[in-house]
């Protein structure tokens, strides 16, 4: 036993580093162990301060700046800014410095504020009082002063200050009740146990006298795992070692309930606590839109660099003759002349970069971020996704993926609690093939008394009677349900319980509650667990007591649980309940056939079935069992594995008693939702741990499979008959033949695939010797790709994630969505592109780890078809428009270089350069991307096929991008050459006669730029106006308002001699331009020409090749006029056949 300690010591010293230690030793109350036991090695642990804040007052500025400039975009803008500062550039550093400064400051303020809140929260947590036991008295200190090894007293309703090991509680049996709502959302009270040997240390003085050490693993984030051992030293006795498990560890953040007080010792403190370890940031998910945006950015960066290179090269080619380089009227300074030509060329290149850098604007990032952040509020605000019953609406955990909701191609859904209510109702049980149905099961109404049992039985025989008794007792004993007294529940009063003090059952598994409640209706009431005795009120109102000896907990691998009890007559009994597949192989006697038939029948009806079996143990066998269990529980290494082995040995040779059936009803509108999703072109996969028959029944009920669907089975049953290889090839042949046959026909045979966990792992198993492994995977993908629906049953949680990963990595790289409600779905939620959690009964763990959480499955429809679609359309327009308007903005400046001797003369004034993206054109697009609604919400909901219009990132594909860019280039050329010809060919003057104070005058280069800029601002704003399909008063206000703002700003900017500027080049330029008739005519003409092609393209496309969306848009006026439902129906039918 001490060997491992020794080994630890050796490894510790050999490694010479503390962090190599794989376990930690905690000395309770900091008391050294007796010298004989082992050497006292002080270890250093962090104190109990929680630091969630990122910054301190001192490092805020450098650290925050560092963080911000790690973003590639910010770094790029910083670089541009620095270049402007260092070299002589055409635009002042203000033009890029100001926006950058603005963005950085706003972000810093936001992050600083958040961090300040975190500091405040940290402070209040760290300073909250804690009762510590020191020298036999209770001392009140601050939570942050707590150290590993301190003994702490916690009172009822207090939250644990760190991860504690329970030593003793005010309950005699050394148990305490805890709720972990804030950790994993499970509201049930969980029971934690003290080690029997420390149970009696119930006062401060006694606890202080405790002399023990705890060895346990180093902190790790798994909430449900803890392995340790306690060594208790008593005088003149060998130390006693006891194993410790998760049931002994009280986690920080959990709250003590129904227990007066406990004593516990701190094991993990501060940032080592499981809670702190669990709040590490999740890996960042990036949406497809973001990826295309980055691709576009790279294209634009290339354009930018090539523009700069072209201009630099042309500049030096053009300047070859000295008369061009330095004509007599325009000499260089001496310093400039002396510079080496390479340096000059490089500086010129940088200057061109600076001049054109606005093509990638800072504001795009800000706008996209704002759009995502603000836009996500519409999801949370949606009252259609609010659930009255739960009192919650949709919840957005990350706003980065809004648009991804409009791109989903695969939906992976959990069954239990997601498709179904997870509101279990006991339907029937069957003992040896005889069926018992409690009636009056509707509405959760419980009729007490045994009279309600309706037995479909015929001949009660002695043998049967015995089994029946055992069966009901088994169900009453074999569970982990707790009884909650009415008065301990604060706020909930279930209507049916009003009046009389009743208790109800709480468990982490709703099946168990349903079973125990079902038993109650059948006359066997489980009363409570008291002093490790379970009390049952049987049919004859007698209380039976069983001593609970061992609980072999449920786990998803074994899929069963057992209890070992000692009846009052001294008999040792092992009751086991579990899935049929895990019970039947272990049964040696009992009416297996009858029960199996019943189980299968129930499964087909979509009921959840459990089998119940027992085994009676002789005292000798019991001793042996105890020994095995204790051995396994004490193990420090591989405890899980050894426990599993022990369970495997114990749970065998069963006598089958019977089976139960529990119904889990489909969620409201689940079928409708699935149908809509399928119509929208999504493939729906159901991944469940349930058995095939039950899952398939649910699938049929939820219309995932139809009667016409041909089911392909890829299950263990089939692979046992044929080899996996053959089955796979068979199926793929079926599917592919069908496809080639139906290549031309409209109606395609629907396929549904059912695969189970065992077969799946065989398919995915990498087997190096057979070349077929990768092959199997491909064939499987090929088959599933041709199936409209896939059901995966008997899935372990990790397998769910594996499937998602498999599909994600397949060659089309489809966008996946995973939706689930339980802890077993978390892995797939994290794996999928979009993870959606259902705020269901199985705790909030799924909702917490998801990107979006919704109350019910039916809300997925609106989430994807409406919100997803709209967000995608909005952000796609946002991205394209941003690139478009910057091409329009910068390309004229590029063209101007050809007419100013490549001298980097900016076309626009500094103020225009700076404010174009910040204020003149930013608000309309932001607003558009927030509230644009190209089709009404009702239409989107009614017609799921519209979703196909935006599938596969269709609005951000390269052809569309190219179209926008070409449109931008075309507009830029119109702006520039339009103005060029106006200035070049004509005496472009204003009308002298009309203005009394002013005569005709010539216009200079700044008027030229202002003219181009005015046309530019109007054109891009009007282009957006043309794209807007939903004109609310806000749109009118912002679009016309921003144009007005431009005009007012220009008037003001040119209207005053600004004292702080060292140039006055814009003075009266705008006003003079407006006083000229040709300028007006030119502006109107150029705007018209610029907008014309886009309008024509739109009209032609709509008339000649309308998309489904456009049809729906055109139909809208008709629909609003004649609101005939028949018309609507024919419409949608018509669309379907298209």
């Amino acid at each position: 036993m001490d060997f491992s300690v020794l080994r630890n010591l050796i490894s510790r010293y050999c490694a010479g580093e503390e962090y190599w230690v794989d376990s930690r030793t905690v000395y309770i109350g900091h008391k050294e162990p007796p010298p004989a036991a082992e050497a006292y090695i002080p270890q250093r642990y962090p104190d109990n301060r929680i630091v969630s804040s990122k910054y301190t007052l001192w490092n805020f500025i450098p650290k925050n700046l560092f963080e911000q400039f790690r973003r590639i975009a910010n770094f790029y803008f910083l670089l541009i800014f620095l270049v402007q500062l260092i070299i002589d550039t055409p635009t002042s550093p203000v033009t890029s410095g100001l926006p950058l400064f603005f963005v950085i400051t706003v972000t810093a303020i936001k992050q600083g504020y958040e961090d300040w809140l975190r500091h405040k929260a940290d402070c209040s947590i760290n300073e909250c009082p804690v009762d510590m036991v020191q020298q036999g008295t209770v001392v009140r200190t601050q939570s942050s002063k707590l150290r590993v090894g301190d003994v702490v007293m916690v009172r009822e309703d207090e939250t644990f200050p760190c991860d504690l090991l329970l030593l003793s509680s005010s309950h005699d049996d050394g148990t305490c009740y805890v709720t972990t709502t804030s950790l994993d959302g499970e509201s049930s009270h969980k029971t934690y146990y003290a080690v029997p040997d420390t149970m009696d240390f119930k006062t401060e003085q006694k606890v202080d006298s405790l002399h023990a050490t705890i060895e346990c693993e180093q902190p790790q984030p798994d909430l449900y795992k803890f392995v340790g051992r306690i060594n208790i030293y008593k005088e003149r006795e060998d130390p006693i070692a006891r194993s410790l498990g998760a049931e002994n560890l009280l986690l920080r953040g959990a709250t003590l309930k129904n227990t007066e007080h406990i004593y516990a010792v701190a094991i993990y403190t501060g940032m080592d606590t499981k809670m702190a370890l669990n709040y590490q940031s999740k890996s960042q998910k990036r949406s497809a839109v973001e990826k295309s945006m980055n691709a576009f950015l790279i294209v634009y960066l290339c354009i930018l660099i090539s523009k700069a290179v072209i201009n630099t090269v042309l500049k030096y080619a053009w300047q070859w003759s000295v008369d061009r380089d330095e004509p007599w009227y325009n000499h260089r300074t001496e310093i400039d002349r002396e510079r080496h030509v390479v340096i000059r060329a490089f500086t010129d290149f940088l200057a061109f970069m600076v001049l054109f850098n606005y093509i990638i604007p800072v504001s795009m990032y800000v706008t996209v971020e704002m759009q995502k952040f603000l836009g996500s509020y519409f999801i949370a605000w949606d009252k259609d996704m609010y659930d009255e019953e739960l009192g919650v609406g949709a919840q957005v955990n990350t706003s980065d993926l809004n648009e991804e909701l409009g791109q989903v191609e695969y939906v992976f859904t959990d069954k239990t609690g997601t498709l179904t209510e997870n509101n279990m109702e006991f339907i029937e049980c069957c003992v040896d093939g005889h069926v018992y149905i409690p009636h009056a099961i509707c509405n959760g109404q419980i009729l007490s008394a045994a009279s309600s049992i309706d037995m479909i039985d015929s001949s009660p025989g002695g043998y049967r009677r015995e089994h029946e008794d055992l069966f009901f007792r088994a169900l009453c004993l074999c569970h982990t349900v707790q009884v909650k007294e009415e008065e301990t529940v604060d706020s909930i009063k279930r209507g049916i319980h009003l009046g009389k003090p009743t208790s109800f059952y709480i468990s982490s598994s709703p099946d168990e509650v349903a079973l125990v409640e079902g038993m109650k209706r059948l006359g066997y009431t489980y009363l409570r667990l008291k002093d490790s005795h379970m009390e049952i009120l049987n049919k004859d109102d007698e209380i039976e007591r069983f001593e609970l000896l061992h609980v072999l907990n449920f786990d998803s691998v074994r899929r069963r649980m057992s209890v070992i009890v000692k009846s009052s007559s001294g008999e040792y009994l092992l009751f086991c309940k579990g899935a049929d597949t895990s019970i039947f192989p272990r049964v040696v006697s009992g009416k297996v056939e009858q029960v199996r038939a019943r189980v299968e029948q129930n499964a087909v009806e979509g009921l959840r079935t459990l089998c119940v079996a027992y085994r009676s143990l002789s005292p000798v066998e019991y001793e042996e069992t105890c020994h095995q269990l204790d051995d396994a529980k004490l193990a420090l290494q591989d405890r899980e594995q050894r426990l599993a082995q022990a369970y495997d040995l114990i749970e065998r040779d069963f006598t089958l008693l019977g089976a139960t059936a529990v119904e889990d009803r489909l969620q409201e509108k689940a079928a409708d939702t699935i149908e809509s999703l399928q119509k929208a072109g999504m493939k729906v996969w159901v991944l469940t741990g349930d058995k095939m028959e039950t899952a398939a029944a649910t699938c049929y009920a939820s219309k995932l499979f139809r009667r016409s669907t041909q089911i392909l089975e890829l299950t263990k049953k089939r692979t046992e008959e044929q080899s996996l290889h053959d089955v796979l090839f068979d199926l793929s042949r079926t599917v592919l033949r069908q496809r080639t046959l139906s290549g031309l026909s409209v109606e395609c045979q629907d396929y549904g695939l059912i695969i189970d966990g065992a077969t799946l792992s065989a398919v995915l198993k990498p087997s190096p010797e057979s070349s077929g492994s990768g092959n199997y995977r491909e064939i499987f993908l090929e088959i599933s790709r041709n199936c409209s629906a896939v059901l995966c049953c008997r899935m372990a949680p990790l397998q769910k994630a594996q499937i998602v990963k498999l599909i994600k990595a397949s060659k089309e790289h489809p966008i996946t969505l995973a939706i689930g409600d339980g802890a077993n779905d978390v892995s797939m939620i994290l794996e999928a592109h979009v993870g959606i959690g259902i705020m269901g009964k199985e705790g909030r763990q799924a909702a917490r780890n998801s990107d979006y959480a919704i109350p019910k499955f039916k809300h997925l429809k609106k989430m994807l078809l409406v919100h997803g679609h709209l967000y995608y359309v909005r952000i796609a327009e946002l991205v394209q428009y941003f690139f478009y308007k910057n091409v329009c903005f910068i390309f004229p400046q590029f063209l101007y270089q050809f007419f100013c001797g490549f001298s980097q003369q900016p076309l626009y004034d500094t103020a225009y350069l700076t404010l174009y993206n910040i204020s003149f054109t930013s608000l309309p697009i932001l607003l558009y991307s927030l509230i644009e609604k190209h089709i009404s919400i009702e239409t989107l909901k009614r017609d799921p096929t519209l979703y196909r219009d935006v599938a596969k990132n269709s609005l951000l594909r390269w052809p569309v991008f190219l179209y926008w860019t070409c449109l931008g280039l075309f507009n830029a050329c119109i702006f520039f050459f339009g103005a060029y010809f106006l200035f070049d060919n004509t005496t472009f003057t204003s009308n002298g006669q009309l203005m009394t104070t002013n005569t005709q005058m010539m216009f200079g280069n700044w008027t030229f730029g202002t003219l181009v800029f005015t046309v530019l601002v109007f054109t891009v704003t009007l282009k957006l106006a043309l794209d807007t399909h939903h004109w609310t008063w806000i749109n009118h206000f912002v679009i016309w308002g921003s144009l007005l703002f431009y005009v007012i700003f220009s008037l003001l900017w040119g209207g005053i001699i600004w004292p702080f500027l060292n140039y006055q080049r814009m003075y009266y330029v705008f006003m003079q331009m407006l006083s000229s008739g040709p300028a007006w005519l030119g502006i109107i003409l150029l705007i018209t020409i610029s907008l014309l092609p886009d309008v024509v393209k739109k009209v032609l496309c709509r008339t000649l090749w309308p998309t489904a969306t456009e049809r729906a848009q055109s139909n809208r006026p008709c629909l609003t006029v004649e609101l005939s439902t028949i018309f609507v129906l024919t419409q949608s039918d018509n669309r379907l056949s298209f």
Binding site: T181, P327, S990
Partner: protein
């Protein structure tokens, strides 16, 4: 990481905030049923269809075409190149024998005739080509505060402390600070143009050229100002030197008219407004219409343009031109704008026709298909 972390912490501090109990506390989280939050704001929902766009196209066509014709018809322009590149041209000699130090000015006279009389006010421009007034080094080579009458930027010792604009380099100072400094001012156009009408009887009549009222009013009265303090500009500009290429200092630009001298000389102001393109023209003067209104401002006939040839353009392949133009209510003669308007108008009209036919053939079919089914 952290925000969610805090939220959880706070949850933990609420006693009894269990999932069941949540129903009571969380009802206030129910979203407001406002039109904005539910994205149901009343809205106008226009769609661009052939039907809605058609009238707009026809209207644009009908408006643009007449405007174009008006723009094309009005206005007269005459352009005379007097650079003297050809041996045959009268200014060839002057253009060859050029140096800045030449105190002897070279004159040449160009003959031309007008086929049409120029009515109303006639504007006379000088035009330069291949002259990069929009070169960046050139554009910024000025000191706006100096031109605005800021005395400090006229003083040498302050300039050495880098208080005055560095942009003027290398035309900032010779031994004394240069006023006006910078490349733009230094290269002020200094040809003198004079116009004579040759009567049929052979006698020359000088045509009065008005050199005032050619700059922007705001430039002349606000942006450009002589340094204040003394009416005698000679005193004000003491301690400064003239730009290198100038023949005379700034206070002698128009010694006869104090309102047109110094920085507020209108020729100077016009020159200081840098042109947008390398080929440009600038207003030289106005020939005002005759008061009696009976005879045209410039009657049909023979004319002589007398040029005092000072300005060198040969080195950079430039051209010098003299342009005479009348101005209509829509500005000067404007062939580009007129043609563009006519073109766009006709294109719109044609597109309208095309769309009309498409609308009738396809739009009807779509609609009828949808309704009949």
């Amino acid at each position: 990481m952290a925000p969610s972390y805090n939220a959880k912490e706070e949850d933990g501090h609420q006693p009894g905030a269990t999932g069941h109990g949540g129903a009571g506390t969380m009802t206030n989280k129910k979203p407001d049923n406002t039109a904005f939050k539910q994205q149901r704001l009343p809205a106008w929902q226009p769609i661009l269809t052939a039907g809605t766009v058609l009238p707009a196209f026809f209207v644009i066509g009908l408006i643009f075409i007449p405007i174009g014709f008006i723009l094309i018809v009005y206005g007269l322009t005459l352009l005379i190149d007097y650079t003297g590149v050809d041996m045959s041209s009268p200014c060839y000699n002057c253009s060859q024998s050029y140096s800045w130090n030449n105190t002897q000015s070279c004159t040449c006279s160009v003959h031309f005739s007008l086929d049409q009389p120029f009515e109303s006010n006639v504007f006379m421009y000088y035009g330069l080509s291949n002259f990069y007034q929009n070169h960046r080094r050139y554009v910024k080579s000025r000191d706006d505060s100096q031109l605005n009458g800021d005395k400090t930027s006229l003083q040498y010792h302050i300039c050495t402390l880098n208080r005055c604009s560095k942009e003027c380099e290398p035309y900032r100072s010779s031994d004394k600070p240069i006023a006006p400094c910078g490349a733009i001012a230094n290269s002020l156009f200094n040809d003198t143009l004079e116009l004579y009408y040759i009567d049929p009887n052979g006698s020359r009549t000088a045509i009065p050229l008005v050199k005032k009222g050619i700059a922007w009013w705001t430039d002349k009265h606000v942006k450009f100002r002589n340094p204040s303090g003394n009416n005698n500009l000679t005193v004000v500009f003491q301690g400064t030197s003239k730009p290198v290429n100038w023949r005379k200092p700034v206070f002698e630009l128009d010694p006869l008219d104090s309102d047109n001298n110094g920085f507020i000389n209108e020729d100077f102001i016009v020159w200081m407004r840098t042109a947008a393109l390398p080929t440009f023209r600038k207003l030289y003067c106005i020939i005002q219409k005759k008061p009696n209104n009976m005879t045209p401002t410039l009657p049909r006939g023979e004319y002589i343009l007398e040029v005092t040839y000072n300005y060198p353009v040969r080195s950079f392949d430039g051209r010098k031109r003299m342009i005479l133009s009348t101005i209509s209510w829509m500005g000067g003669k404007n062939p580009f704008l007129g043609i563009a308007y006519i073109t766009v108008g006709s294109v719109c009209f044609c597109l309208g026709l095309v769309l009309l036919s498409i609308h009738y053939r396809y739009g009807k079919r779509n609609n009828s298909a949808e309704i009949s089914s």
